[in-house]
């Protein structure tokens, strides 16, 4: 049914349609509205047979989630930013134990300095946690991805983070098509845990594993991730056939036929970029967008196929790795290794700095003009703000416009 609602409410409705047995979370912006709405659904009886648990921290939230999942209940939680970091120990346990928890990460920059606005530093910090990480480009995508996430998690036997941009999506009101309960029930069967604690067949879950089998346990986790690539595609196909939705998948291509340049983007920036690409097309500039939906598992083969014979690829990244470079770019380079495709990182939109159509326009024009001479460039940096500090204290000034890695290194030597 079509509704004009806030993204958080849409996600809460989607989660409720999946009939979770336990919802547990600790409030943190910008995730709060999602769990508040779920709490209301439990209280007013819209969501039946579900325990909504108030806890005192994110650490407890993930701990309760692990416990309820081990107890055999379909479990949902949500967090963001520092809350996600506070969960970290439990996050690794959940994936190591193969517990199909679904968790929303309403992506928000990590402090310090404290910052409540959107970027991807929180979700990407959990790159190696063993969770599936599915990014959403719109609220409709988020609604559908959450429903698919339960099925994917339970089929694969791993937990799933559904990453949606904080505020940009969570707090945006837009038209959403919420599937009916009947449809979701047809798609998602009642939860049948693969293993759980019960008195009839007692087991001990979460044993210590020493050097004799640890490598093998890890290999089996990696094997599940390999399986997940197929499961994501299957489940997406099934869901799309049932609902007519266009959400989900490993990645989504826009205007990729014969594009001179392709942008690889995670999350809500994709929507802005699509509009700008349409305008550029009118100018005769042909740019494709690869919306990367599944960051973990990383779809190397699908990326290679999506890039095709395009010679230039820019990864627009809303986080990076200190002391190294981009986070997405190296993965893409691996995907196209052995080809002549040129892959670079452009950092933009950190800590809530908006990525406008003009930002995308600038990236595209600079890329096509060959101005990105290095792998790693800060694109939307404001040299005036920077110089106001560096000039005064160190006598160093930066040129206006994008700043690349060598400019940073040179400024240190000078």
């Amino acid at each position: 049914m079509l509704e004009q609602i806030e993204g958080s409410l849409g996600v809460a409705k989607a989660v409720a349609l999946c009939r979770p047995g336990v919802v547990c979370a600790y409030p943190i912006s910008p995730q709060t509205h999602i769990v508040e709405n779920l709490g209301k659904f439990v209280k007013n009886g819209e969501l039946k047979d579900c325990d909504f648990l108030n806890v005192e921290s994110e650490f407890s939230a993930i701990s309760v989630s692990i416990g309820s999942e081990v107890g055999g209940a379909r479990t949902y939680t949500a967090t963001a930013s520092q809350g996600l970091l506070f969960m970290t120990e439990g996050i690794y346990s959940a994936s190591g134990l193969g517990l199909p928890i679904v968790m929303t990460v309403a992506s928000r920059a990590i402090g310090g300095p404290i910052n409540i606005w959107n970027d991807h530093s929180d979700s990407l910090s959990q790159r190696d946690s063993g969770w599936l990480q599915l990014f959403c480009e719109s609220n409709q995508d988020a609604v559908d991805t959450h429903i698919m996430a339960f099925k994917i998690a339970e089929k694969v036997g791993l937990p799933v983070m559904v990453c949606m941009d904080g505020f940009v999506l969570t707090h945006a009101f837009e038209r959403l098509d919420i599937p009916s309960q009947e449809t979701v029930d047809k798609f998602l069967k009642p939860y049948e845990p693969k293993e759980y604690l019960n008195t009839k067949e007692p087991v001990s879950i979460g044993a210590m594993v020493g050097p004799e089998a640890f490598t093998e346990v890890r290999l089996l986790q990696q094997r599940k991730m390999a399986k997940a690539l197929d499961v994501i595609e299957e489940v997406t196909k099934e869901y799309r056939e049932l609902t007519g939705s266009k959400s989900g998948g490993l990645l989504d291509c826009y205007n990729c036929e014969n594009a001179d340049l392709k942008l690889i983007i995670l999350g809500s920036t994709v929507g802005t970029a699509k509009d700008e690409i349409d305008r550029l097309k009118a100018e005769g500039i042909n740019v494709g967008i690869i919306s990367l939906k599944s960051f973990r598992p990383f779809p190397y083969a699908a990326i290679k196929e999506a890039i095709g014979d395009t010679k230039q690829v820019i990864c627009v990244e809303r986080a990076f790795s200190f002391g190294a470079r981009g986070i997405i770019c190296p993965e893409v380079k691996r995907a196209v290794e052995g080809t002549s495709c040129d892959v670079k990182t452009v950092v933009a939109g950190l800590g809530g700095r908006p990525i406008f159509g003009t930002t995308i326009n600038g990236i595209v024009k600079d890329a096509l003009a060959g101005k990105f001479t290095e792998e790693f460039t800060f694109f939307d940096v404001n040299a005036d703000v920077l110089n106001s500090y560096t000039q005064k204290h160190e006598g160093v000034t930066f040129n206006k416009g994008p700043i690349n890695q060598s400019a940073i290194e040179k400024s240190v030597k000078a």
Binding site: K194, E195, I205
Partner: protein
């Protein structure tokens, strides 16, 4: 069948292969600390242990543990000044446990249910003479009988009980209670011969073929005071007044009586006189703070309308008045005369200035070492300077309470028993004291002390009915359960519940727990969560 995950999901008990005990650097051990009540009790009662059984509702078992140390719980539950309660760790939490009231409940329970002491399983054939059937003599006789010895008590007074009968008024200790507890001792085979004063102890020992003697003489002689008086003034001593009230039920005495002294006897006399219609006034040379009388008894006396003249001495007595001199306390707290006098109308004076032991028989014993008013004894064996002659109670101490007498009587019996076996009694070493700071009181719930009901003040001025009432069973069990079980296990299951390695093994009711050191990692949670401070972490020898 579940689809079990590889390696991380295990069948039950498979993790027992991991002997995590090898990680340990500290090991928990059960320590038994001495509860402050036990430490304080002059009779050496195992208070915490008998409270444990009382709290379980097993009153007979509780009584049996109690009477291992003290054969007179119904009496002690009434007349003991219960200094144990002053040391009770529960006092740091809310109020001390009403130990004395539970003791009385158990004593009364035993009388009501005709509980008897067990006769000794075998007779040793040894004969012991006990002189005096007061608390020290009775306690010693009882303990000696438990060892299987034959015991004969010779008592100078008409009836057994000593100061419990001739000193303590019946409103504090009804005589049917005293009689019942004495009878229980004679039922074990102890013989008591009353109304005979032994003049020659050596001859008595020799002629009676006794293997040992215990001197249990009480302080039965009132101390005098030199008060100038006209020949008509009525001056009496406290013990004769109390003795006469005990034997005849009354005494002919004037209405306005002055009781001179500040100890428990003074209070007993004043309260007794009040009950036969007199208007007693206590005259004491120091102030209330310095008074030696038990505070609860003194409060009761004041409640009953007894007047006290503090900081006063009697300097002269005439026919119907006393000349009182006001005193002041100097910087050492000693009363000093002021030279200020006043007159106190009074028809009689009762001197309650302390009591002494009748030393006539003792002085005939050659080589008996004395110090002031007391016989010198070895404080472990209780033997006097004469081989085979022991002493207990008032005759051997200045701590002249019933409770001390019972404790000393018990120790003397142990000393005699060792002596008869050709050895020397050694007191076992005491455990370390259980301090409040060693405990984890978070687990104890609030529970205010049970207040004992008392006879209305209005009815106390004309009867010798018992003033303080006992606890009901419901109240007694509540009170017993208030015990914190300081330093000793109360089987609360905390350690068993909190151990993350299931390394605390439950041994069954009354048997406590043991640690399975194969799996105990030495985390110390059990020690931290044991309310009683019963678990100690000690370093492993690595």
């Amino acid at each position: 069948m579940m689809n079990k995950a590889f390696a991380v999901t295990l069948d039950p008990a498979t993790s027992l292969q991991n002997h995590t005990g090898s990680w340990r650097t500290l090991r928990p051990v059960n320590v038994f600390k001495l509860p402050p009540c036990n430490n304080q009790c002059p009779a050496g009662e195992n208070i915490q242990q008998w409270l444990f059984y009382a709290a379980e509702g097993d009153y007979e078992h509780a009584w049996r543990i109690l009477t291992e140390e003290n054969p007179l719980p119904a009496c002690m539950g009434r007349v003991c000044y219960h200094t144990c309660e002053g040391k009770c760790n529960r006092g740091f939490l809310d109020e001390s446990v009403g130990i004395n009231s539970v003791e009385r409940f158990l004593g009364d329970y035993a009388i009501e249910h005709n509980l008897a002491f067990k006769r000794p399983s075998k007779e040793t054939g040894k004969k012991i003479l006990v002189i005096g059937a007061g608390p020290a003599g009775l306690s010693a006789a009882y303990q000696l009988r438990r060892f299987g010895h034959s015991v004969h008590i010779v008592e100078a007074a008409k009836e057994a009980g000593g100061m419990m009968r001739y000193g303590i008024p019946t409103y504090r200790l009804p005589r049917n209670i005293l009689d019942a507890e004495i009878k229980r001792i004679t039922d074990m085979g102890v013989t008591i011969e009353c109304g005979r004063k032994i003049e020659d102890i050596e001859a008595e020992k020799k002629n009676g073929k006794y293997d040992a003697v215990i001197l249990g003489l009480g302080a039965s002689v009132s101390a005098g005071a030199d008060i100038p008086q006209g020949d008509t003034t009525h001056v009496l001593n406290a013990l004769s007044v109390l003795g006469q009230i005990e034997t005849t039920g009354e005494i002919e005495i004037a209405r306005r009586v002055t009781v001179y002294g500040g100890g428990n006897t003074a209070v007993d006399v004043a309260r007794s006189l009040r009950r036969i219609g007199a208007e007693p006034v206590i005259v004491y040379r120091r102030n209330r703070e310095k008074m030696r009388a038990n505070a609860e008894e003194m409060d009761a006396a004041i409640a009953e309308g007894i007047q006290v003249k503090w900081l006063s001495t009697i300097s002269e007595a005439s026919k119907d008045a006393l000349k009182i001199e006001k005193m002041v306390l100097d910087e050492n707290g000693k009363p000093q005369p002021t030279g200020q006098f006043e007159e106190l109308p009074s028809d009689a004076v009762v001197l309650a200035l302390g009591q002494n032991v009748d030393k006539t028989a003792l002085s005939k014993l050659q080589n008996l070492q004395m110090e002031k008013d007391s016989v010198v004894v070895n404080n472990e064996t209780m033997m006097t300077s004469i081989d085979g002659i022991f002493a207990a109670g008032d005759v051997a101490t200045n701590d002249r309470t019933v409770t001390h007498a019972i404790g000393m009587g018990k120790n003397a019996a142990r000393g005699v028993n060792a002596f008869l076996n050709g050895s020397t009694y050694k007191k076992p070493q005491k455990h370390d004291l259980a301090k409040f700071e060693d405990m984890h009181p978070w687990y104890y719930t609030d529970a205010p002390k049970t207040v004992r009901q008392e006879l209305e003040v209005a009815r106390r001025s004309n009867t010798f009915d018992e003033v303080q009432f006992g606890l009901t069973e419901e109240n007694a069990i509540f009170e017993a359960r208030r015990c914190l079980s300081c330093g000793n296990c109360m089987e609360c299951d905390n350690c068993y519940g909190v151990c993350p390695d299931s390394a605390v093994v439950k041994l069954g009711p009354g048997k406590g727990y043991e640690f399975n050191y194969d799996y105990c990692k030495g985390c110390g949670v059990c020690a931290q969560e044991c309310p009683c401070g019963h678990i100690k972490m000690v370093p492993e020898q690595i």
